[in-house]
């Protein structure tokens, strides 16, 4: 993973990270490009350490597409966060996104998924 891209802090990410109790709630508002995805991954992993988070919830309900790179990055993130002691759940994958992912042959175990924010929080035990 590239750690220090010079242009990293340029534009704000179209995603917000909120701490709620022991969990981080990440909501992605618009499609992220590859560089932004990696930045989000890096930011989140840092936050997990700083906030001593136990769980990460990533809401992708606003996205119309999730390409294989994004899916892979989210799966990697889940694994990395696991190594730092936080569980990850991805929520809000819509029917079309789910079908596209399957059709693209994205067979990576995309961590834990849940229907929506409420379900995800329940799974995290919030």
């Amino acid at each position: 993973m590239p750690t220090d891209l010079p242009s990293a802090p340029s534009a704000p990410l179209p995603a917000s990270i909120l701490a709620q109790g022991p969990n981080l709630i990440v909501s992605i508002h618009a499609a992220l490009d590859d560089e932004q995805l990696l930045r989000l991954q890096r930011d989140l992993l840092e936050r997990v350490g700083r906030d001593r988070s136990r769980g990460i919830l990533i809401d992708v309900a606003a996205l119309d597409v999730l390409d294989s790179f994004a899916a892979r990055t989210l799966a990697d993130l889940a694994y990395m966060a696991q190594l730092r002691g936080a569980r990850t759940v991805v929520v809000g994958i819509g029917p079309d996104v789910a079908m596209t992912l399957v059709r693209l042959g994205v067979r990576i175990p995309l961590t834990q998924t849940a229907l929506d924010l409420e379900e995800g929080l329940e799974w995290l035990g919030a």
């Binding site: 929520v91 994958i93 819509g94 029917p95 996104v97 789910a98 079908m99 992912l101 399957v102 059709r103 067979r107 995309l110 998924t113 849940a114 229907l115 929506d116 379900e119 995800g120």
Partner: protein, 294 residues
């Protein structure tokens, strides 16, 4: 076409057509009642359109006749196309077959041709010229009607297929957040796709947590179908709903193992009842029998 006619130049043909066609149309208009009657009789004799009453046949025959003459006059099949589509829409549900529709149009063509023979029988050259003008138009009319009918019928079949496809895969809620999807009949690629789509939308609509897919009614399963079933399960999981598959017959189980489809990641239970019970357990429902129920 005889040698005499084929040696004429195009300019001459056009010249004659210009004069002949109006004459032809006028002739057909003048003898409308008689020719239409003849045609309707021949339809009845040929046992065409037997699904319709004589009166209906006669009134359709009138419209077709008028449209026919109009096409001869204007050379534009647009109106006729419209009418043929409309007619097909009306008679397809009555069980009228393609050969009947083509048959009646060809009959009309014959009836009119005969009347032309009779009119011009004394002048063979003129008759040839009249037929030169008449035949292409008549053929085009027959073609238009037949094509419209077939197109209309194909559209009806397509609509029915769509309706059937939708009916064949009901997504039903049996408990709060528990859906069942009974699959009955042969699964093919298109149906598997449709089924996945409906299931995923059902999951969202019902906020489902668990889905029981019952394949008791599926007689056979090949590699493609098995893989698309795996896709369905994967897609459901991405939306946060777990899937239990029930009712895999012994034949299908053997086939799947033989062709090497990996269903190990799928949660399977023997029959639908078992699947629903398992799902209820996972969702925290407890079903108990009231002692004095019977």
């Amino acid at each position: 076409m005889t040698d005499g006619t084929s040696t004429r130049t195009d300019a001459e043909t056009e010249h004659h057509d210009e004069l002949l066609l109006p004459e032809l149309v006028a002739h057909l208009r003048d003898h409308r009642t008689q020719l239409r009657q003849q045609w309707a009789e021949r339809i009845t004799q040929a046992h065409l359109l037997s699904a319709m009453t004589n009166q209906e046949v006669f009134s359709e025959a009138t419209s077709v006749y008028d449209n026919y003459v109009e096409v001869l006059e204007t050379g534009s099949v647009k109106e006729l196309q419209h009418y043929a589509r409309d007619l097909s829409e009306r008679i397809i549900p009555r069980g009228v077959e393609t050969h009947e529709v083509v048959g009646i149009v060809l009959l009309l063509r014959d009836v009119l041709a005969r009347s032309l023979f009779e009119k011009y029988r004394d002048d063979f050259d003129l008759l040839n010229q009249v037929l030169d003008a008449y035949e292409p138009a008549a053929n085009r009319i027959a073609n238009t009607v037949a094509v419209s009918f077939v197109e209309q019928r194909e559209r009806v079949i397509r609509d029915q297929q769509d309706a059937l496809l939708e009916l064949s895969t009901p997504v039903l809620q049996v408990r709060e957040r528990l859906l069942i999807l009974p699959i009955i009949g042969v699964l093919d690629q298109a149906r598997a796709q449709q089924l996945t789509e409906q299931l995923l939308h059902g999951i969202r609509a019902h906020r489902a947590k668990l889905v029981v897919i019952d394949v008791t009614g599926v007689p056979d399963m090949d590699e493609n179908v098995a893989n698309s079933l795996v896709d369905t399960v994967t897609a459901s999981r991405l939306m946060g709903a777990d899937v239990i598959i029930t009712g895999l017959s012994s034949e299908i189980a053997q086939t799947l193992v033989t062709i090497g489809v990996d269903l190990s990641k799928m949660h399977t239970v023997g029959d639908l009842q078992g699947g629903i019970e398992e799902a209820e357990r996972q969702l925290g429902f407890r079903v108990s029998k009231v002692p004095d129920a019977d």
